[in-house]
Symmetry: C2
Subunit: 154 residues, 2 copies
Amino acid sequence: MTTPTANFAEMIEEGSALAPQFNEDGLMPAIATDAANGVVLMLAWMNAEALNRTIETGEAWYWSRSRQCLWHKGATSGQVQRVEELRVDCDQDAVWLKVHVGGDGGSCHTGRTSCFYRRIIAVPDQMTFEFGSPPKTMKTMCTASLVVSATPSN
Amino acid sequence: MTTPTANFAEMIEEGSALAPQFNEDGLMPAIATDAANGVVLMLAWMNAEALNRTIETGEAWYWSRSRQCLWHKGATSGQVQRVEELRVDCDQDAVWLKVHVGGDGGSCHTGRTSCFYRRIIAVPDQMTFEFGSPPKTMKTMCTASLVVSATPSN
């Protein structure tokens, strides 16, 4: 016998209705990748309105958790993210945007192309942290020892 | 004058110490992409132990929110994710894993290669939902009208 829970899962995973599953804060993670080369540019958050505006406008809208407001990415910087493709995952609780970035091509508030500009490297009894802007060179800019601090931030 | 908050942000963004910033549940999102072609395979979650084990073993470990346990991806299915590269973002509250998938190459519990097997398409006054396995064909398997349900899931 199919249970209501199984029916719900089937509807979410295989149904033809978009039924985004936001978390308790009304948000879901949104992964933006460069449509040209697959580099992950950023991980941001969308609420229902941000998702709707992204679908309607073809440009990325997010919810800024720090500023607690809707955020049309690039509205002031020119780094608008034009959405080539928008995908939702099996559980409909995350989206993936393939984007073309306007302006200077950056997506990170530090001025870099991608927010993921640091690589973690494990070596015996220590780990190193490698800086580098992935889409441009992948070259090491500096390497340093580090200690993994696994303490939650709150 | 530099404020303590500014110093903390500088340390997180530019320092050489890995200082993962987990959320109030002790988790952070982890994006797994196929190291060969850049396809986003899944969005999962890591706690401190999952992150440490991933770094130490070179294979992806997550925290299963549904089962509330550590999850060595592929331990039973064979779909082990060998980590070619592990990156952390500017705020150190998200990681990106470039992986090679073992077993049958799948990452989604529905049996598909990627969890992001559906594309959202906007057309005038309605939106369509397109099924397709991105890494294999990108072809449409079916298309249907949908209504955006923006109601949070809880």
